[in-house]
């Protein structure tokens, strides 16, 4: 997993609440057998509308999504996180996230930032008025900054440390590789092996 310290980029204001995972990535995309290539499925239904904010040329290359409350509700599919990342988003800002989506995002290195709705409103106004406005999401200082906006956010210490270090679950376990090797050295010889006989 890529480490996240601080990120600065342009934003996409998504003025919608209750964006569920089926809207983020529709079910028929779940048949894919890889973790990438989901970018075209991201918000697939809405993107059929040429006026949808993601389709506008000035939003190309934006990497911070600023969404309405209750982002990521519905089915627990991890693909929703992959789709956002595949598209190029590094962080999502919302007043409230669904729990499972939030857990999945932090495990995969997508920073989900909870800010009060007033701050979200301010970010929407700023980035709608000026598509080139840059937003900085600083995990070291736990702060979101943009022109005229400085907002602190909370993140539990363990999740923050893992993001800063770029440690996914596997990376974390591999830090205890010596314990695993020691356990293996003590396994009895009668334990089953799948090696062909």
């Amino acid at each position: 997993m890529e480490a996240f310290t601080t990120h600065t980029g342009r934003a996409v204001p998504l003025r919608r609440g209750n964006v569920d995972t089926d809207q983020i990535i529709p079910a028929h995309w779940l048949k894919k057998v890889t973790r990438d290539g989901f970018e075209d499925g991201l918000f697939e239904a809405w993107r059929k509308d040429p006026d949808f904010v993601l389709n506008r040329p000035e939003r190309r290359g934006a990497s911070v999504l600023v969404a309405g409350p209750d982002f990521g509700t519905g089915s627990s599919r991890e693909h929703a996180v992959w789709a956002l990342q595949n598209y190029g988003f590094k962080a999502v800002v919302s007043a409230r996230f669904a729990d499972i989506f939030r857990g999945n995002s932090l495990k995969n290195g997508l920073l989900t930032v909870v800010l009060p709705q007033e701050t979200v409103d301010a970010l929407w106004e700023l980035t709608e008025a000026d598509p080139d406005a840059e937003v900085t999401v600083d995990l070291v200082a736990r702060q979101v900054r943009a022109e005229g906006i400085t907002a602190d956010f909370d993140l539990d210490e363990n999740a923050r440390w893992r993001l800063l270090e770029g440690l996914d679950d596997i990376g974390l376990t591999l830090r205890h590789e010596a314990d695993v090797a020691a356990f293996e050295a003590g396994r009895p010889s009668f334990k089953p092996s799948t090696a062909r006989i």
Partner: protein, 483 residues
Amino acid sequence: MGRTLAEKVWDDHVVRRAEGEPDLLYIDLHLLHEVTSPQAFDGLRKAGRPVRRLDLTIATEDHNTPTLDIDKPIADPVSRTQLETLRKNCAEFGVRLHPLGDVEQGVVHVVGPQLGLTQPGTTVVCGDSHTSTHGAFGALAFGIGTSQVEHVLATQTLPLAPFRTMAVTVDGELPEGVTAKDLILAVIARIGTGGGQGYVIEYRGTAVEKLSMEARMTVCNMSIEAGARAGMIAPDDTTFAYLKDRPHAPQGDDWDAAVDYWRTLRTDDDAVFDHEVVIDAAELSPFVTWGTNPGQGAPLSAAVPDPAAYPDPSDRLAAEKALEYMGLTAGQPLRDIRVDTVFVGSCTNGRIEDLRAAAAVLEGRRIADGIRMLVVPGSVRVSLQAVGEGLDKVFTAAGAEWRHAGCSMCLGMNPDQLAPGERSASTSNRNFEGRQGKGGRTHLVSPQVAAATAVLGHLASPADLPAPSGTAAASDVRTPLGA
């Protein structure tokens, strides 16, 4: 204080324990199939990580495989891609794979035990909820998600939150014609589909001790339908006899050392379970489901329940919706329910004893006109053994179709499906809406009930059958206990 069987196996696999963190558990055996592994391999590839223990990892193809014309290319593009991806991944990472056409191919939970890989006191995982099947050997076996599959591939361990323990004690003698399937369906109806949540269930008591290994697997298989994380049965001489001389069972001195260890895997007399359920075997009878979850079941002799009789409003609503989906009316005797399709197979009831039990009922009989009956062995080995015993002939003579091994009609992922509105009696484990095909209606039953239902065209047990032409009376149709 003493420990339960599950706690003993857990303790023997703790790699690392730290305050405020889940235990890191070592995994002895990792089973793979085509549905839940592709993204896990992809994750490894992206991170440049190898499979840590190829010698503890094995893959087979089951969910998407057809059971007819297996030498022809697979028609459905999604199924084909999943199988091809598994083959490519196993070749790239060096994982042992038994693909369609291989003699060791079959449903992953049938293959592990028959190879002797599933052993007492081991930890077994697979990206599939019915991994609980392997608990029949006294293994701690549970299903995991795709990111956990990747974790096990990379580290051979899993960080796991602790579980609670439940004892389901079944004492006494199962009545004639009552099987392991009836037992577990009755258990689920009793504790509910959420009743086992967070628990590892240990099945014990004299009735459980008398079950064969096949029957024990049927019981543990459906632990997940009670919401439990796993099901277990303490290993004993029945377990050891099943394992002896299997291809991957310990040999020579290792066998003796293993059996010495395995004999210690019993719940201590002074151990305390977090929850206990007691069932009197003598009260059990053939059991079938009428609804759309495995807890909605009743004795075959009963009638479709009246939703209004449920005190709990959410149960009442669930029953109402189930009856609507199933096209049934309250008060209708279960024996009156006519079916179109009968399925014998799956990791619940696709082993040799199950096929023998169904064949014993069909011997000398014909299935009713208009009934489609599929008999699908759980693995190629089971298939070969059944053919060796002439069971395939019994099935085809009765008018049933004898198919190639796989998950088949257990789930609508391969060509064997119910059409909308079609009704089946099925020996599988899930009767959810659309599980066997969109709009399909499923009644979960034992192999014996499945066979009798095929003969009469409506839900029935062998005791309901007239004597087969030219043989003794119906009461002489002996069905092996617990098969």
